[in-house]
Symmetry: C2
Subunit: 245 residues, 2 copies
């Protein structure tokens, strides 16, 4: 039995998220089906985390075990020949027997992309959230500065299916950058709550629209309750960007 690490990029548009679901195609199911076709083995692919329906990944690490050894090159080339073009194996590598894509992750980075101009160019339509009216980026940056750091983010998570031990998380990075018509929200943490990045993006967009004063951020954190002040921003702007081990 040998363990392998795969780094996978995907366009989440056509999928019901990363994790295998009773209804709907998923990235994990596509990988496991391709692995079965390639190796004849029924394997479980463990991702660094789940991504929701419609969310993309620039690079999602995962691990799996195979009874019969394969070279990383065989795995990468064989899987890419079998997978649809919206899922690509960027890298395959032999991994230590105790490598675990989720448990060993030190930090994760998500990026949320907003297209802030009247017209969204067609090639970007599946990869950007379109906000036609000019957002106040400096207000968004002030709010982001208030959210960065160690806080209880109960106001910035959707009701999770399973309760979590703590809603305290440390955002080591939360910044907002505008370049041309594109606004990028970068969020880095050891771990995130359910729908936390889309909740942060949803709140920051409201701040940019002037619907929330940036100064309300501290009170929002203190409230520790999800309210209409924090909408969940649409999935197509979100990319799992990088995971550190």
């Amino acid at each position: 039995m040998s363990r392998y690490r795969l780094d996978v990029a995907y366009d989440g548009t056509a999928y019901a998220g990363w994790q295998i679901q009773p209804n709907g195609d998923t990235i994990q199911a596509q990988l496991e089906t391709a692995l079965h076709a390639l190796t004849g083995e029924r394997v479980t692919v463990h991702g660094s985390g789940r991504t929701d329906r419609g969310v993309h990944a620039r690079r999602q690490p995962a691990h799996l075990d195979l009874v019969r050894d394969r070279t990383p090159k065989e795995l990468k080339t064989g899987l890419n020949a079998l997978l649809p073009p919206d899922i690509r194996v960027l890298k395959a590598a032999a991994a230590a027997p105790d490598f675990h894509a989720r448990r060993n992750a030190i930090a994760k980075e998500y990026r949320y992309f907003i297209w802030n101009a009247e017209v969204l160019p067609p090639p970007l339509r599946l990869y950007r959230t379109h906000v036609p009216r000019r957002l106040d980026v400096s207000a968004m940056q002030r709010a982001a500065a208030g959210l960065a750091g160690c806080h209880d983010f109960a106001s910035f998570t959707a009701n999770p299916n399973r309760p979590v031990a703590s809603t305290v998380r440390t955002l080591s990075v939360l910044h907002v950058v505008k370049r041309g018509s594109e606004i990028t929200v970068t969020a880095r943490a050891e771990g995130f709550l359910y729908r936390m990045v889309r909740s942060l993006a949803g709140f920051l967009i409201r701040v940019g629209q002037g619907a929330e004063p940036a100064a309300r951020t501290a009170a929002m954190l203190k409230a520790r309750t999800r309210t209409a002040h924090v909408p969940t921003a649409p999935p197509q702007g979100l990319f799992l960007w990088r995971v550190w081990y």
Copy 2:
């Protein structure tokens, strides 16, 4: 009767090209249907030129006439509300009564995008031609230098449906630039022959692969016959980039 200019961006993936066809949906048909729904008028939209099935446009200028005046803002906003998101009106403007999107064009620029790395990132899969093996960019640049200028391009056009008076054209620009994994072929001319840019790209890719020596370029032009040395590169890498008036 007033004339208007529209600048339109589109993702050609789902369309049988620009021009109305008996079979298959086209960009022109989508625009004329949306204009009819918006204005009640049956109008013809004249593009600066046709693009083939699967070819994209960053900015395709077009003109049309309306019996009842509309403000450019009404036209742009109204059309974008009716059109699918893979077709966007970037700009609408009142035009001089004698403005003609095709006849008045001074020069056109196309860009052909090649992704030259083992793996094509999923969000680019509809907008790049994938060439996994490393291309010899400097050979491509030498060949492009030999093709730029005024030549008979009969070897670099597909059999047109209708014969043309002359196959002589002047490529004022033909250059090849590599940035990271992306190779861009930029072609600028007053006018192009049928499938000329994809034929130039197809030949340049063969040169980059070492299948044709760059030094064969002059002989290729001299031959004035289409041969297997000049394949038509796939449509998804091609964008109509800019038209000058």
